[in-house]
């Protein structure tokens, strides 16, 4: 019984995850136990229901979108590797990482990747563009029925008008980056994981 779980956390596995995500050894083990505690089905993967049990996500208007971000397209299970890969987006950027990451490949927690993660929360149909409809849907999630459709529409129009630089009436990732240029994404999209 349970040979799977113990193999999952073999040293090599941890090393690989470490390399891929930049988490430390203890962070991985700790997150692993968190993972297993979320895993009510006890099959080594998490389902959407597992995520929805987290109160923060349950009340979050965009909770569904966030949960979605954990799941690769077309699947409704995520294993520990995938879980860690998503979480790695939220790892704070450390000081010593800042200067050296230009040389090697970009880590998952870089600014661009953080932004990409956020971008995909809004990009419902995954076509690398946030269209007006997608904005409207997300807005609807965020404000409920308190604002009339017409006004929501004008908000969405306005948002696109602000962000859109190439006139295709949608927000591309580059435009998204541009919009959030002055937002301290590194800080906002970081969770202090335990070391």
């Amino acid at each position: 019984m349970g040979s799977r779980a113990s193999t999952l956390l073999r040293e090599e596995e941890i090393e690989e995850i470490k390399k891929e995500t930049g988490f430390s050894h203890s962070q991985i083990t700790r997150l692993y136990s968190r993972f297993t505690s979320l895993d009510k089905g006890e099959n080594g993967t998490l389902s959407r229901e597992d995520f929805q049990r987290i109160p923060e996500l349950a009340i979050n208007p965009l909770g569904d979108r966030i949960i979605n971000a954990f799941f690769p397209e077309g699947e409704d299970q995520v294993n520990f590797r995938g879980f860690m890969r998503t979480l790695a987006h939220f790892r704070p950027i450390e000081d010593n990482e800042k200067n050296k990451n230009a040389a090697v490949s970009e880590p998952l927690n870089s600014r661009t990747n953080k932004l990409l993660f956020a971008f995909r929360l809004y990009d419902l149909d995954r076509d690398d563009k946030i269209s007006r409809d997608e904005l409207l849907q997300v807005l609807r999630m965020m404000v409920g029925v308190n604002i009339s459709d017409e006004q929501l529409g004008s908000i969405a129009d306005r948002t696109i008008q602000e962000a859109d630089t190439n006139g295709d009436n949608s927000i591309s990732f580059n435009e998204f980056i541009k919009v959030l240029e002055k937002v301290d994404v590194e800080q906002k999209m970081s969770i202090r994981f335990l070391h």
Binding site: S24, S37, N60, P72, L135, E162, T165
Partner: protein, 962 residues
């Protein structure tokens, strides 16, 4: 069995995450408790699960033990490694080598192990335990645990997973039930300390650190050979030595290791403490949550009133502290008690009614002769054992009140202005930012979430209003005409009401000398004033509709206009007051003579009746002494009465105007002819302008009255405190948000400006009375002096050394004062011009930044002309331009993609952009051709709206040309 292990370790993880992810915003505490509950639940479950099989079977129990051991081993490893480089080879999960290794380690370091007063039943194990303790840096938890474990006789159930694992075989014969219980007990505390220890260092860090230490050591050794300057060498040497000192301990060399572990632990604790403290401080901001709640439902404009109220409360609290600490309490504690002298006694004529409720409510009777008012204070120079100079302190506090208020108001204004200037150009991506960044993802409490929900909605509404304002296509001439018209009308009505007030005041002066007056004539002034206050604000509001300003600006106009109207109120009040004071001053003269005469008479009578000219007569009973009108107390009573009636009126207004109305609308709606909620009465809106002005004028009353009635400040503090709760409740319970929720300006400097104006206006009469009017001869701390400020002169003469007195007299010389004033004027002028220059520089910089942004935008849009090199490359590879469209992140695939690919792609994107930019900078102005011929527009400067931009973007994101 791994399941059990996992669940067993749930606790620590959850708890740790709790602690770690705490954030200092307002939701933090709730969130944390929430999570902790979750953790508790999880933990309980886990434990329960772990327990079940254990109680079923003994073998199961052993199995249970094993993974725990392994887990412990996992966690332990870093520690081991830290313990010494020689243990690095041990990577396998196998238990045998571990046993060997620990055995060896024991031998090696057993001697070194620090002594602890645990009782050990098993020596070997005990040593190990001790070693563990030492290794872990002597943590207290660890110690206690060791004790616990030893008390049981075995190390087995302890957190030392390795020991446990190893002992498993040997200790099978041990009583299982104990073990089980133990394990359960320990699982929580163990895990805590386990993870805490782990926190201190991980494997990778260890290795890195060791490397670095080695490096530094090498540097120290070879620093002589470096071709550096001496200064640099010294700096490096020092750095390296410090580093080695600091971290060598971490690598397990001698005693430093323990010390290091201790330091690390303390550092972590300190950081955690700081975070907790930060949370605590946030939690300590009074009413923060209340205000946030109001803000999320009613918008920042209504919240700005409450913030202003809170600020006011803080300021008044300080004033209250001064007044009570330095004036009221010393007088109560050390001064003469009630009834000892005339000024502290109710006159005999009033004594019968002095305790009547109506009299007390008018602040007569006992109230008037109490510590609340000026007249009660004695003019003894010093009181009590401490020789407290009460009159001096009284004057100083009176002046200090104004000084402090001025300072605070002005400083707050300056600070607010600072904030306003900081982020001036926010207008760029308002909606996009709101859209993308408004939700706080760490909120875990549903109530907080609801509030956030409401506040996002509100902020969108606010932005919509702003936006509508911006996009209004207006007939500018018509609007201007209407605005001028509105202002003319309002000026007319203000002038009219001003004249009305003047007229009425004059009439009332005439009436004052006549007796044959009806009720109306007596109260004419008050009636007119309240009518004006009732009619004018709505009138102004109606007129303001014409102007069609943005609601925020409209609020300011409204505030300014009502302020002007209320100034009339103030003016009449002061006018009446000065009249009263003047008559009282005249009256006083005669009474003073009468008092002296009465005193003489009394003595004469005494001597005659008892025919005993030698013995001193007993003093006249203080209640019988004839006393002057004491105009200061009179003024104080007026102010207190005014304040109290103001409180009553405003509270009643809320109760009737808002609450009763809301109740009626809510409950009569079921049986009414028309829809009350949507129709005529509807619910009230929160009247921002009225409330702010009420607060401002109330504060003016306090400032003016505080000198004559020290108790007034206390009353005001109570009022602000209660009104905070009352109004918060009222606004949440009975009001509806404004139809157009608008955003308050970031600094509520406008309120502050009004406050400053009122402060000056109230400063004038008080200073005038202090400087010019003679104090009453028989009441108050300054009685018997020509002017109130003589107290200062007296102190200088009597208490300070003589040369200081002469110094002051020189300083008071006009010859010195005039140059000083000139100097100050010059300084103001200078500072003013400097700040103007800074402002200009600021504007320039802002413009430049805007230009830089525009330029970049342009460049990005017409990439075609930006980069010659890239263009050439693309020409060479005709298909390339199409390719980049493919790689852009396929969102669905991403999490499952090969990690390497995920990593390289964005990296290359970044490099692609960089490269492009770099080259663009390097080449001799490649832009020259493009934008010069055309004006730089936001886009479309390039000739191709179609494929061009697409290609540009694609290139920016795609892999760089190799």
């Amino acid at each position: 069995m791994p399941r059990k292990r996992d669940t067993a370790s749930n606790d620590d993880v959850d708890i740790e995450i709790d602690i770690e992810s705490s954030d200092s915003d307002d939701g933090a505490t709730q969130r944390r408790t929430n999570r902790r509950q979750g953790a508790g639940r999880g933990g309980a479950k886990g434990r329960g699960r772990g327990k079940k099989p254990a109680s079923e079977e003994e073998d199961e129990d052993d199995e249970d033990e094993a993974p725990r051991g392994r887990r412990g081993a996992n966690k332990k490893k870093p520690t081991k490694k830290r313990g010494g480089g020689d243990d690095d080879d041990d990577d396998s999960e196998d238990e045998a080598p571990k046993r060997k290794r620990t055995g060896a380690a024991k031998k090696k370091r057993g001697g070194k192990a620090q002594d602890s007063d645990e009782e050990d039943s098993d020596v070997g194990k005990g040593k190990k335990g001790k070693k563990g303790v030492g290794k872990k840096g002597g943590k207290e938890e660890e110690d206690s645990k060791g004790k616990k474990g030893d008390a049981k006789g075995k190390d087995k159930g302890k957190d030392k997973g390795k020991d446990k694992g190893k002992d498993k075989g040997k200790d099978k014969d041990n009583d299982k039930d104990k073990k089980k219980k133990k394990k359960k007990d320990d699982s929580s505390s163990d895990s805590n300390s386990d993870s805490e220890e782990e926190e201190s260092m991980s494997e990778g860090e260890m290795a890195r650190l060791m490397e670095e230490v080695e490096e530094k050591k090498k540097l120290i050794a070879t620093i002589r050979n470096k071709p550096w300057r001496m200064k640099r060498r010294l700096v490096h040497l020092k750095e390296a030595q410090e580093f080695v000192d600091k971290f060598e301990g971490a690598l397990g060399k001698g005693k430093g290791r323990k010390w290091y572990a201790y330091k690390v632990m303390m550092k972590k604790k300190w950081i955690k403490f700081q975070r907790d403290f930060e949370n605590f401080r946030t939690a300590c901001i009074p009413w923060e949550r209340k205000i946030k709640e109001v803000e999320s439902h009613f918008g920042s404009s209504v919240a700005s009133y409450f913030i202003f109220l809170r600020w006011m409360y803080g300021m008044n609290l300080v004033l209250f502290g001064f007044t009570f600490g330095l004036v009221v309490i010393p007088e109560v504690l050390m001064g003469l008690p009630y009834g000892s002298i005339a000024r502290k006694t109710v006159p005999r004529a009033d004594q019968d009614t002095a305790q009547d409720y109506s009299v007390l409510m008018d602040f007569n009777g006992y109230c008037k002769y109490s510590v609340l008012f000026y007249g009660y204070y004695n003019n003894q120079r010093t009181i009590g054992l401490l020789k407290f100079r009460l009159p001096l302190s009284y004057l100083m506090v009176g002046i200090g009140t104004f000084g402090y208020s001025l300072m605070v108001v002005i400083r707050t204004m300056a600070k607010n202005a600072d904030v306003g200037g900081g982020d001036g150009d926010e207008g760029e991506f308002t909606f996009a930012w709101k859209m993308f960044t408004s939700w706080d993802y760490l909120i875990g409490n549903s109530e907080t979430a609801d509030n956030k929900y409401a506040s996002i909605t509100t902020s969108f509404k606010e932005s919509i209003v702003d936006e509508q304002e911006n996009q209004k296509d207006e007939n500018i001439h018509l609007r201007r005409f209407l605005r001028v018209l509105a202002n003319v009308m309002i000026t007319c009505s203000l002038g009219g009401s001003g004249y009305l007030i003047y007229f009425v005041v004059k009439r009332s002066q005439e009436f004052a000398n006549r007796d044959d007056l009806g009720w109306y004539e007596k109260n004419e002034l008050e009636i007119i004033m309240s009518l004006l206050g009732l009619v004018c604000p709505p009138l102004f509001e109606t007129i303001a509709e014409l102007e069609d300003y943005h609601p925020r600006i409209a609020l300011k106009w409204q505030l300014g206009r009502i302020f002007a109207l209320f100034l009339g109120n103030l003016y009449t009040f002061l006018f009446a007051l000065f009249d009263e004071v003047n008559t009282k001053l005249e009256e006083e003269e005669s009474i003073k003579n009468a008092t002296i005469w009465a005193m003489k008479e009394y003595y004469a009578n005494y001597t005659r009746t008892f025919n005993d000219s030698d013995s001193t007569p007993p003093p006249m009973p203080p209640a019988d002494i004839i006393r002057g009108p004491c105009w200061e107390t009179g003024v104080g009573v007026e102010f207190v009465k005014l304040t109290v009636s103001d409180i009553q009126v405003s509270y009643l207004t809320i109760l009737i105007g808002d609450f009763a109305r809301a109740v009626i609308v809510r409950f009569l709606n079921y049986c009414w002819c028309w829809d009350l909620e949507a129709g005529f009465p509807s619910y009230g809106e929160f009247d921002i302008s009225g409330n702010v002005l009420g607060l401002v004028f109330n504060q003016g009353m306090i400032w003016m009255g505080a000198f004559y009635a020290p108790g007034l400040v206390g009353i005001n503090v109570l009022r602000l405190l209660s009104s905070m709760y009352y109004q918060c409740w009222a606004v949440m319970a009975t009001n509806v948000p404004h139809e157009r929720v608008f955003k308050a300006s970031k600094s509520n400097n406008f309120y502050m400006g009004l406050l400053l104006l009122i402060l000056f206006l109230s400063l004038l009469p008080v200073v005038y009375t202090i400087m010019t009017l003679p104090p009453s001869f028989d009441c108050g701390p300054f009685s018997g002096k020509q002017k109130m400020f003589d107290v200062i002169m007296e102190t200088i003469d009597l208490d300070l050394p003589a040369f200081l007195g002469t110094l002051f007299s020189y300083a008071a010389n006009p010859g010195l004062i005039i140059p000083a004033v000139l100097l100050m004027v010059l300084a103001i002028y200078y500072l003013n011009s400097v700040s103007e220059a800074y402002q200009n520089a600021n504007m320039e910089l802002k413009k430049k930044m805007q230009m830089a942004r525009d330029e970049e935008k342009n460049r990005r849009n017409n990439t075609d002309s930006t980069n010659q090199v890239m263009k050439d490359l693309e020409d060479l590879l005709p298909n390339r331009s199409l390719m980049p469209a493919a790689p852009p992140p396929d969102p669905g695939k991403k999490p499952e993609q090969d990690p390497r690919q995920t990593k390289t792609k964005p990296g290359s994107a970044g490099r692609g952009v960089n490269l492009q930019r770099d080259v663009a900078l390097a080449s001799p102005n490649p832009n020259a051709r493009g934008p010069v011929s055309q004006p730089p527009g936001p886009r479309g400067a390039g000739p191709m709206p179609g494929p061009g931009p697409g290609r540009g973007r694609g290139r920016g994101r795609g892999p760089p040309p190799r």
